[in-house]
Structure formats: structure tokens, C-alpha cells
């Protein structure tokens, strides 16, 4: 792993944490809706993104990851900010950026990722898909159905289970008795590995391996990335009701892990980090200003239901416009 790569990943991790905090604060100020902070998942998101090829591969996130996908294109963050303030265009990450918008209906994105991988294979496209889902989301039927089918198809898909210890207030011990989440791959007949999700380099390497397998036609890989949720579930959550403080205090912070690595390599200086952070801050400020300045016609509500509106939608829209 080159110093350059380590540095780039650290930069994106710092950005991810900052962007996430900014969106969190926007909610507190009444300027954004409910959102889910990335805290604790920076290394695994950034590590995974760097191991992929943004012009060939696709990422299908759950909902925490978008702040960490700068590597796939700057519009990911820009659109995510729009998304968080409740603007419909937030769902549109424009081509050619190969990232899907946040998925709220848990685990439904896994079949999508498998279908996309299948379609790419069928079309003879190089590349693979990578889908994130939480430890809690692995309990949904969609996860199993999709992984099982992916196995049968030898689909070029990488399934990353983000095991951050919690699904809102439900600990992994109430989620499954499987020894770990990597073990679940036995049900599908493809490899499963557990990696330290606070270590971006370890995640990078696991995803790079999985990607090689995928594009070589060797099929899917399940990667369990173990970390700990360092903040509340979302802006609407109060984790002090259920998170044992000892556990939280004992948790590793991926930013610190990476900072140590930077230091070990002699790459780190406080002023440098301060500079990176203030650049990220400026970049985010711009995104927020742009998002809040993005116009929105209320009748936009009627667009994109179909490629062409049905007569009934045309009528409803004109009734709506007459009223407003």
C-alpha cells in the first residue's frame, strides 16, 4: 500500500466524518431531515471505495456511506446534501457516477446489486458491484435470497456487511446466533471473510481480492467489516438509552487508527490535517449553499412517476397548479 494511497484514503475519511457531522447539525438547525451519521464506518467505506474502479464498478449504499464516496465523484456528496435537505434531486446521482442513492428499505438493495452485476456480466461489461448493508439488515429475507441467487449466477458482486454492533437499539446478539456474519456465506456457497472495519487498509485489501475474483468470473464474496457505531443511530435516536458506555469507550475510532498509520509512515502533521479539514469544510459549505439554493417547483412532485405522465396525473397536476 503506497503512502499516496494511504494519504488519499485518510483525506476522504476525514472528509466523511466532517460532512456527516455537518449534515447532522443541519438537522439540529431544522435545515435537514433525519439522517444517519457515518461515525465508525469511515475506514470501511473509504477502503472499499478505493479498492474499486469508479469507471467500471458500482456502489449500492445503505444510508450511512454516501459521505465517504468522494472517490467515486464529487456529485455523490453534493446530491447527498440535497437528499438530506429533502430535495427530490438528491435521489439523482447523475451519470457517469456509479453510485446509487441511499436505500431506506433495508436490504432491498442487495437484489438490486445482484441484478446489476448479472446484467453487467450478461452485457459482457468488465466490472463489479459492491453493496453495503448493516448487521441488522442481514436478517431480512432479501439479503439471503439475493446472496443465494448471486452464488448460482456467479455474479460479480461484493456484499459488504457493516457490522457496527447495533441495529438502532438491537445488538448483534439479538440479531443472529451465527458465529459471525462471514459465516453466513456458507448458506450461499461462496467465500466469506471477516475484516477489521476500522482498518481502511485491511478493508481495501479484502475488497481488492474480492474484486479480482468477481471480475475473473469466480463469483461473489461476502465481507464482514467489523466496527462500532460511534454515534447515535440517526438524528432521531438517543443511544444513551441502550448503549453500554464501556462498550462505546472501548471502541476503536477508524480515524485514529488511520492517523496512527499515517504517523507510523511519517506522513502526518497536525497542520496538514487542519488544512485538509478546513478544505473539506469549505467544500461542504459550498455543497450546502448550493443545495439550499437549488430551486424547486412544487409541481416537480408530478415528474418522473412515469416517463410520460398518465392522463390522470396530468389532471391532478393541473388541479394542483390551479390551486397554488
Amino acid at each position: 500500500m503506497t503512502d499516496e494511497l494511504v494519504t488519499s484514503m485518510f483525506v476522504d475519511m476525514l472528509g466523511a466524518r466532517l460532512y456527516s457531522q455537518r449534515v447532522f447539525n443541519l438537522q439540529r438547525q431544522g435545515r435537514a431531515g433525519t439522517n444517519a451519521p457515518i461515525d465508525g464506518s469511515e475506514a470501511l467505506v473509504v477502503g472499499a471505495a478505493f479498492a474499486l474502479n469508479p469507471t467500471l464498478d458500482w456502489i449500492l449504499p445503505q444510508y450511512r456511506e454516501l459521505v465517504g464516496l468522494e472517490r467515486f465523484g464529487s456529485d455523490v456528496l453534493d446530491r447527498y446534501v440535497l437528499y438530506c435537505i429533502g430535495h427530490p434531486d438528491g435521489g439523482h446521482i447523475p451519470a457517469p457516477t456509479r453510485v446509487w442513492p441511499p436505500q431506506i428499505s433495508l436490504a432491498t438493495q442487495v437484489p438490486h446489486a445482484v441484478g446489476l452485476a448479472w446484467g453487467m456480466k450478461q452485457a459482457g461489461e468488465e466490472g463489479c458491484t459492491l453493496v453495503f448493508l448493516g448487521d441488522g439488515s442481514t436478517s431480512e429475507g432479501d439479503f439471503y435470497e439475493a446472496c443465494n441467487f448471486a452464488g448460482v449466477l456467479d455474479a460479480p458482486v461484493i456484499v459488504v456487511v457493516v457490522n457496527n454492533g447495533w441495529a438502532i437499539s438491537t445488538p448483534t446478539t439479538s440479531q443472529t446466533r451465527a458465529k459471525n456474519f462471514a459465516e453466513k456465506s456458507h448458506a450461499f456457497g461462496f467465500p466469506g471473510v471477516t475484516v477489521d472495519g476500522t482498518d481502511a487498509i485491511a478493508v481495501y485489501e479484502a475488497v481488492a481480492d474480492a474484486r479480482s475474483r468477481a471480475v475473473a468470473g469466480a463469483g461473489p464474496t461476502l465481507i464482514e467489516a467489523v466496527t462500532y457505531r460511534l454515534g447515535p443511530h440517526t438524528t432521531a435516536d438517543d443511544p444513551t438509552r441502550y448503549v453500554p458506555p464501556d462498550e462505546l469507550n472501548a471502541a476503536k475510532d477508524p480515524i485514529e487508527v488511520m492517523r496512527s498509520e499515517m504517523q507510523r509512515r511519517g506522513l502526518w502533521r497536525q497542520e496538514w490535517e487542519d488544512d485538509i479539514v478546513s478544505q473539506a469544510d469549505a467544500r461542504m459549505e459550498k455543497a450546502v449553499v448550493a443545495a439550499e439554493a437549488t430551486p424547486l417547483e412544487p409541481s416537480e412532485m408530478f415528474n418522473h412517476v412515469y416517463d410520460q405522465p398518465t392522463p390522470r396525473l396530468v389532471r391532478q397536476r393541473s388541479e394542483f397548479e390551479a390551486k397554488s
Binding site: 427530490p88 435516536d237 390551486k323
Partner: protein
């Protein structure tokens, strides 16, 4: 009588019913340790223990599906689906199994299952947290569909639901959890299913509605009264069973009708109300029934949702239309 908001009334009722009948079991995502994401199940774990109040894995189909087995074991399951939009993941168990269990076993098994779930918009939730899906369930025989619009009804109807040997979809208006408040009887309080409630009296037009739209309609009625239009507001309380008698009586009395729902227009439950009026009270209609609905679009994101959900203005306008058209 105590003043409670709706979520307090629900919590209070769950406590009473769990205390009264130890076959009652509450389970779902985050209902135990966290007391529910809206605190509807607060304190149940402490009072009734981890055998009867259970945090399940994150899997709606098995939440609904285990309720079938629990019912067969003689329990009274009260599962929660965290948001009604995620009942889609359990649709095959709710519509295909729970609703049919009594029928396919010719009554071998009672099905005293009450599925509680918040629904409806207006509070800037993320995707699939705000959908009004009651109409999709109303076409499924075997379910009862109950939607309280007041704190007292939340208690009375939930008590009835839990004690009912049939499956009940108990839909709680998210927007009303804290906003809707009222006096709630402290002791035993049941409200029968299939009996609509007249929220305000009136003679010119009747608004027929349910859930949070009752509150909006009541406000519309107050506003219209100032214009000299006398509006009756009928809260259906339960869509299945449906209080056809109350609908017919109101149509006969007022002659003009507005139906208000938050769901998309096409094939929402308002359509069934109109069809029922057509069947049973056609000759009493002095004008076409006016529908106020969400639009035939997916439930939109935060910045658009106030444009989507019916509001007092739209209801007022519909009442005016109902009054204005010639007989």
C-alpha cells in the same frame, strides 16, 4: 380521565392489556430495550419481562409469521411493524397467511393478532416511512383495519383489537402521536369496531374520513362554519368492518359529501366509500361526492410532502365545491 397524547394512550393501553392477560406478547424491532422508536412500548420490558416483550431481528416477514404460530400456541401476539411501509416485507404473511388462517383451518385456530404500525406523512420522515397503505389492505378479506383519530379512541380501539379473536391492522397516525391529545378514561375502555363517530354535527355537507384527516377535517369544519356552511365530520374509525349505516344516514341527512384520505387517489379507500354510497344512498346524493386525496405519485421527499398531503385548504375547497354544484 387523564390528558394524554396518542402515543401515551397507546403505551398506557399496552400496559393495561399486558397486565390483564398474560398471554399478550409484544415484539418487533426496538420495542423492548428502547421502548419503541416512538416510545409506544416504553416500560413494557421492565414490567412484563423479556419473555413477553421481545426485540426481534430486523425481519418483518418473520415478525408477522411468528405471530401466526404464537396465536396457534394460545398467545395473543401484538407485533409492531416499525413503519407501515415496511409491512410490504411482510405482505405475504399478513395478506396470505394471517388474514386466511381462520378460514383455511375452518376455525381451528383463533387469530387474535394485532399488528400495530405507525403510518402517514407530514413529519419529514425518510422514504417509505410515510405511506398510507390502508386501501391495499382493505381488499384483503379476513383482516380488520382500525385507525384511531383521538387519544381516547386509541385506547378504546386498541383494547378492542387486542381482545378481538381476529387479526387487526391497527394503524397509528405518526403525525398524531404527539399532536393529538385528549382526555382518556383510565379504567376499562373499549370502543366497538364498525361504529363511526360523529366528530362535529352539521347539515349542509358531510366529510367522511379517518385517522389524522379527522383532525384536519374538523378544522376545516370550524373554518367553514364561519362562512355559514354547516359541516358534519364523520370519523370512520374502522374501515373493515365499515359502518355503512352511519355513512348512509349522514348522506341522507346532508345530501352532499366529501371524502378525505391521504393515500393516492386511484383506488384509495375513498373509492370504496363512494362506491358504497352509490350502492346504498345514491338517491340521497345532491351532488357528486368530492374526493380529497394524495396524488398518484410516490410519497414525496421532505420538501414536497406538504404539497402532497391534504391540508385544511384543500378540504375547505372541496366542501365549497360540494355545496356549489347544482343539485
Amino acid at each position: 380521565m387523564t390528558q394524554m397524547n396518542m402515543v401515551e394512550a397507546i403505551n398506557h393501553t399496552l400496559h393495561q392489556e399486558m397486565a390483564r392477560d398474560d398471554r399478550v406478547m409484544v415484539f418487533g424491532e426496538d420495542v423492548a430495550l428502547n421502548g419503541g422508536v416512538f416510545r409506544a412500548t416504553e416500560g413494557l420490558l421492565d414490567s412484563y419481562g423479556s419473555g413477553r416483550v421481545v426485540d426481534t431481528p430486523l425481519a418483518e416477514a418473520v415478525i408477522a409469521g411468528t405471530a401466526v404460530g404464537l396465536a396457534a400456541a394460545g398467545m395473543v401476539p401484538v407485533p409492531e411493524i416499525q413503519f407501515l411501509g415496511f409491512s410490504y416485507q411482510a405482505f405475504h404473511q399478513i395478506a396470505g397467511q394471517i388474514a386466511r388462517l381462520r378460514y383455511r383451518t375452518r376455525g381451528r385456530f383463533d387469530v387474535p393478532i394485532t399488528i400495530r404500525s405507525p403510518f402517514g406523512g407530514g413529519v419529514r420522515t425518510p422514504e417509505l416511512h410515510s405511506e398510507s397503505l390502508e386501501a391495499q389492505y382493505a381488499n384483503i378479506p379476513g383482516l380488520k383495519i382500525v385507525l384511531p383519530a383521538s387519544a381516547a379512541d386509541a385506547k378504546g380501539l386498541l383494547t378492542t383489537a387486542i381482545r378481538d379473536p381476529n387479526p387487526v391492522l391497527f394503524l397509528e397516525p405518526l403525525r398524531g402521536y404527539r399532536m393529538i391529545k385528549g382526555e382518556v378514561p383510565e379504567g376499562e375502555h373499549t370502543v366497538p369496531f364498525g361504529r363511526a363517530r360523529t366528530v362535529s354535527e352539521g347539515t349542509d355537507v358531510v366529510i367522511i374520513t379517518w385517522s389524522f384527516q379527522v383532525e384536519l377535517s374538523r378544522r376545516a369544519a370550524v373554518q367553514l362554519a364561519e362562512e355559514g356552511i354547516s359541516v358534519r365530520v364523520v370519523d370512520l374509525r374502522t374501515l373493515v368492518p365499515l359502518d355503512t349505516d352511519a355513512i348512509v344516514e349522514a348522506v341522507e341527512a346532508c345530501g352532499r359529501v366529501v371524502v378525505v384520505q391521504e393515500a393516492p387517489e386511484t383506488n384509495g379507500f375513498a373509492s370504496e366509500i363512494i362506491a358504497t354510497i352509490n350502492d346504498q344512498a345514491f338517491y340521497s346524493l345532491e351532488a357528486p361526492v368530492q374526493r380529497v386525496s394524495g396524488y398518484d405519485t410516490p410519497y414525496p421527499v421532505g420538501m414536497l410532502e406538504d404539497h402532497f398531503v391534504p391540508d385544511v385548504d384543500r378540504i375547505v375547497a372541496a366542501v365549497r365545491r360540494a355545496v356549489e354544484v347544482e343539485a
